[in-house]
């Protein structure tokens, strides 16, 4: 048994990655999550490792069922991601993904807010490299927006935890609640990472701009880490139900309109998070089980979907729905895996999404939130449209002449196969997942009623798709931008910031000279012989500095004497 924060295994292991090449690198990147997994498996529950730093006792290894579950799925996803990114030759992405994964695992085991903050920031910084590594101008500016928002979230967390520490005298990470300003700030910090409505734009802005593997890795960690911390700190917070319901419903409109399939999947990510957020808001044991289970299955099928779209992008160079199509013949395996992912996210019976989403829906219905229940049902039907049907249809089946490509590389296929197998396996044997859940559960997903109602919902929703498509009502795939909240900071906000920057810097540059200008005019009245080109108008710094000295001296004298 090793009492050592398991996240650090990945973080330190990542240092070696740039040196390694080829299969050695592959083996190393696979051994690290595997080893960390075995370490966690061997750990007993409890607070196992504390560290004195910053004058605080930091709990770096709080092991319980909830943290175990999230760490397992993070490591699993890291493992699959490692296989998927085998073809990479650059020395930034692979270590960045490992550090990112390690930090996420580290964050999951944090028993206090300060160490959580540390790992929180590492995830932000490590992840931005996955976007920057795309090396396009769009990705670059998107990455900067992403980083600012992510770090901003970290800063809010930090501010919240300091205030909280100041009030309560400890920084333990337990239930937090919204009833104090510190708690509110922390809630906001978590909310940014969780892509709460209005705070979500970074996600749909940045994820589609990342590299092929980068988007897969990004989709795994940040948001699910946010789900984990929300479940820890804000379980049972009523507001979350409404936030979650909005999250589950509004992205489906964007997702159906968007052309870039990776952006579609980013919106669907928010929609799926909505289900989990609702469950956390309800906060009963069953609901929290549902949130955790859904996070687990969601990570895998969302990674699978992004991997298949990533494979398309890798082979064809585009992920735009309007330019893809008809690829079923050239990439049959990828198409098959994509459809398994699509079936999972649409929660077809016997796919992983079904067994987790059913818990959430039952929990919502059980607590009597009927409106929320209807919204979630509506969102489920929507999910089928924009992911379950739209992605496979536009990528593989709608005809598009002229694209002849090879099947995805073998490492990508293996990674997708693994994820697809898991999707089906969990769907068929849900008890495997249920045993891992934080609270005891005796939920039976496969009752005739469940299967039938879900099948009806999906089939009739699909028939609506067919009819609408035939009538031509179904929205066309357009090369376009659909406005989202980020408009506020990318148009007026950006102009405002530019304006402020220009004003500040010019104000700053001319402050000295303007003052001297005024002074010169004043002096000109007194001493005519200085002439119109008086030396006082000159901007050379010594003059203005000395003037500042005099001004400050007078100011201080006045202040002191008064």
């Amino acid at each position: 048994m090793i009492e050592f924060p398991p996240g650090l295994i990945l973080i330190f292991g990542a240092i070696l990655v740039p040196i390694l090449k080829g299969y050695v690198r592959l083996v190393w990147t696979l051994i690290l999550p595997l080893f960390a997994f075995l370490v966690i498996l061997s750990l007993p529950n409890g607070n196992l490792f504390s560290l004195n730093a910053f004058g605080q006792e930091l709990q770096l290894m709080r092991v319980d069922q909830l943290s175990r579950l999230f760490s397992y799925v993070f490591l699993l996803a890291s493992f699959i991601g490692g296989i998927y990114s085998f073809h990479l030759r650059d020395s930034i992405e692979a270590p960045a993904s490992l550090i990112y994964g390690g930090a996420s695992v580290g964050a999951v085991f944090c028993g206090d807010l300060l160490s959580l903050f540390v790992f929180w920031e590492i995830t932000a910084i490590a992840s931005v490299f996955l976007i920057l590594a795309r090396k396009t101008a769009r990705a670059r500016s998107s990455a900067i927006r992403y980083l600012i928002i992510q770090i901003g979230s970290g800063m809010l967390l930090f501010a919240g935890l300091t205030i909280r520490w100041h009030q309560t005298g400890n920084i333990d990470f337990g239930h937090i609640g919204l009833d104090s300003p510190g708690g509110l700030l922390i809630f906001l910090a978590f909310g940014i990472k969780c892509a709460f409505p209005l705070l979500h734009s970074w996600l749909v802005d940045a994820y589609p701009e990342a590299t092929v593997t980068g988007t897969v890795i990004l989709s795994i960690f940040t948001t699910k880490l946010a789900i984990y911390v929300l479940a820890r700190g804000f379980a049972g917070t009523e507001e979350l139900i409404w936030i979650g319901a909005i999250m589950a419903s509004f992205p489906i409109f964007y997702a159906i309109l968007e052309n870039d399939l990776r952006r579609v999947l980013s919106y669907s990510l928010i929609n799926q998070l909505g289900f989990m957020v609702v469950a956390i808001g309800i906060g009963t044991e069953m609901a929290l089980n549902g949130a955790a289970a859904h996070a687990f299955t969601h990570i895998i099928y969302k990674a699978l979907l992004l991997m298949s779209v990533g494979a398309l992008l890798y082979r064809t160079g585009t992920s735009l729905g309007s330019q893809l199509g008809g690829l079923f013949k050239s990439m049959p395996l990828t198409a098959g895996f994509c459809m398994i992912g699509a079936a999972s996210i649409s929660a077809f019976p016997f796919f992983s999404g079904f067994v987790s989403k059913a818990i959430i829906l039952s929990a919502v219905a059980h607590e009597g939130y009927f409106v929320t229940w209807l919204v979630l049902l509506f969102a489920s039907a929507g999910t089928l449209h924009y992911v379950g049907i739209k992605i496979p249809y536009f990528a593989f089946f709608s005809s598009q002449p002229g694209i002849k490509v090879k099947e995805a590389p073998i490492n990508m296929l293996i990674a997708m196969a693994l994820a697809a197998a898991l999707c089906i396996f969990i769907g068929v044997y849900p008890s495997l997942l249920y045993d891992l859940l934080p609270y005891p559960i005796n939920y039976v997903p496969y009752t005739a009623s469940h299967i039938l109602s879900q099948s009806l919902l999906l089939l009739f929703s699909a028939s609506a798709f067919i009819i609408l498509l035939r009538k031509g009502i179904y929205p066309k795939q357009l090369n376009s931008t659909h406005l989202d909240v980020d408009w506020f900071y990318r148009k007026p906000g950006r102009d405002l910031i530019r304006y402020i920057f220009i004003m500040t810097s010019s104000f700053y540059n001319h402050l000295g000279s303007n003052l001297i200008d005024r002074f010169e005019r004043f002096v000109y009245q007194l001493y005519r012989h200085h002439g119109p080109h008086g030396v006082l108008a000159r901007t050379w710094p010594t003059g203005s500095m000395v003037l500042w000295v005099a001004v400050l001296l007078v100011a201080y004298l006045l202040f002191y004497f008064i």
């Binding site: 770090i151 300091t162 810097s505 402050l511 000295v549 002191y560």
Partner: protein, 495 residues
């Protein structure tokens, strides 16, 4: 040995002074370097011994020439200046091994000797200002270090170094003269120049006009020396166009010593934290500090010369320190002093790394650095780590100091200051991020492709500082705890 121990305070200043004259005497480049190296390391050791002795037995008072204070000049070492002595001598000792490579590449043997002579004189002056307990002595040492640093800056590669040095000279002299005027007024009112004697006599006449005028002159003079907004205009050019070694050394030490002076004048002489609550000074300082934090950071973002960018960043960081001082509580002063220490480490390290880039590439223009991360991986990796520390990323030294500064603000219930600290750190992130982005995510230019990694002699001193920046991010028992003890002394005006 006991003789040595007894004369440690004098040795602290005399060692580099003698070494400086030796350099001037021999005028052989390499020999001068050896002299500089050995005397720097020795004075670092002396500073360590002094600190240990202070921790062990409290304040050390040393009478120069056997004339007893307040008539003779007294050197007095307490925890506060022992801490600063350590910062200054430590930064100097780390930088000297680095200098040989970069200086010998540019200067002939004789010029090298003069360089080292000036370097040692700066060191002498700074150590002298810190250790002395005599007000007029402060002025003399201040001018020794300033004059030598004007000469150092004028040795830059760029002709703009000359005008920068000239500006610095005018401003520095005015600043020093203001300090003398302040000291003169205090002397006229109390008849003593000994700082501690002054401190015991001043409370009776604290609100008389000459004393207040003296305070104003001292404040402005010291603000000029420490480059507090808006009196910082000399600093960017001086740091940008001087030799990299000089920038690193001055950025790490000179402003820190001026901050020490500010602390000494405000807290020791004018009676600790109570003085702060009685005057409008904290408000003025706080506003200036906040403007410095933001205005300088924003200007830094727009700089194309990275040395200039870092220089503006220094102005911003000084803002952070002054912000901590303006609260005058134990926690905030701990933050300010820790930041003094950490900033010395970080900025010196950053300038050293930039010097290495300058050495290889001949330029530190941001657009000419594209792709340099691939060609000089160690240098740029170091830059990133120190940059993170400058931003205040947790796990680095910069985080600790901002943590205490934030706490200091919170203790006063001013949580919005916390928000401002955080947003200023975000601005820091932007300008560091610009460099990182250019260095790692752009294709290398033709010049960059031919580069080699910086020579080892230049890298290891920088990495020593990087290691320190990380180490003090985790183990605060040295930096922050010592700073806290010093802060207690300052707040209660114990001397």
């Amino acid at each position: 040995m006991s003789f040595m121990q007894e004369h440690l305070p004098a040795l602290q200043v005399v060692l580099p002074l003698v070494a400086a004259s030796l350099c001037a005497l021999f005028r052989v480049g390499y020999l001068s370097w050896l002299i500089t190296l050995s005397s720097s390391i020795l004075s670092f050791l002396v500073a360590v011994f002094l600190l240990l002795r202070v921790l062990e037995q409290g304040i050390i008072s040393y009478e120069i020439g056997g004339w007893s204070p307040p008539f003779g000049i007294e050197y007095r070492v307490d925890l506060i200046n022992a801490f600063v002595l350590l910062i200054v001598s430590c930064v100097s000792a780390v930088i000297v091994p680095y200098t040989q490579k970069s200086i010998s590449a540019r200067f002939g043997s004789t010029e090298q000797s003069w360089f080292y002579c000036m370097y040692l004189l700066v060191l002498t002056g700074l150590l002298g200002v810190t250790i002395t307990g005599d007000a007029f002595n402060i002025f003399v040492f201040l001018e020794i270090s300033s004059l030598a640093s004007y000469a150092l800056i004028a040795m830059g590669r760029d002709r703009r170094g000359l005008t920068a040095a000239y500006q610095y000279l005018i401003m520095g002299t005015i600043g020093a003269t203001f300090i003398v005027i302040g000291i003169g007024l205090l002397w006229a009112m109390t008849g003593t120049l000994n700082l501690y004697d002054l401190a015991s006599r001043l409370p009776e006449i604290k609100s008389s006009r000459p004393v207040l005028a003296a305070l104003a002159f001292l404040t402005v003079g010291v603000s000029l020396k420490l480059a507090l907004f808006p009196l910082h205009l000399w600093l960017p050019n001086a740091y940008a166009y001087g030799p990299s070694v000089a920038s690193a050394f001055l950025a790490g030490t000179a402003t820190k010593v001026s901050i020490y002076l500010l602390l000494r004048f405000f807290f020791t002489i004018f009676g600790g934290a109570t003085f702060f609550t009685e005057t409008p000074l904290p408000e003025i300082l706080k506003i200036l500090a906040l403007i410095a934090m933001f205005a300088a950071s924003i200007v830094a973002i727009f700089q194309s010369n990275i040395k200039r960018m870092l220089a503006y960043s220094s102005v911003a960081q000084i803002g952070f320190i002054i912000l901590g001082i303006s609260y005058a509580t134990e926690t905030s002063l701990t933050g300010a002093m820790t930041h003094m220490f950490n900033h010395a480490i970080m900025k010196a390290g950053l300038f050293l790394l930039l010097g290495a880039i300058m050495f290889r590439l001949g330029s530190v223009k941001i657009e000419e650095l594209s792709g340099i991360g691939r060609k000089m991986p160690l240098t740029m990796a170091g830059f990133v780590i120190l940059g993170l520390s400058l931003i205040g990323a947790p796990g680095t030294a910069g985080f600790i100091s901002k943590w205490y500064l934030g706490l200091g603000a919170l203790e006063q219930g001013e949580w919005w200051i916390l928000v401002l600290i955080v947003s200023a750190s975000l601005l820091t992130m932007i300008y560091i991020g610009r460099v990182v982005e250019v260095a790692y995510f752009r294709e290398p230019t033709d010049e960059v492709v031919q580069l080699k990694e910086a020579p080892l002699e230049m890298l290891w001193p920088a990495y020593l500082l990087i290691a320190a920046a990380i180490y003090f991010g985790f183990d605060t028992s040295f930096s922050a705890d010592l700073a806290r003890q010093a802060a207690v002394l300052l707040v209660n005006a114990v001397y």
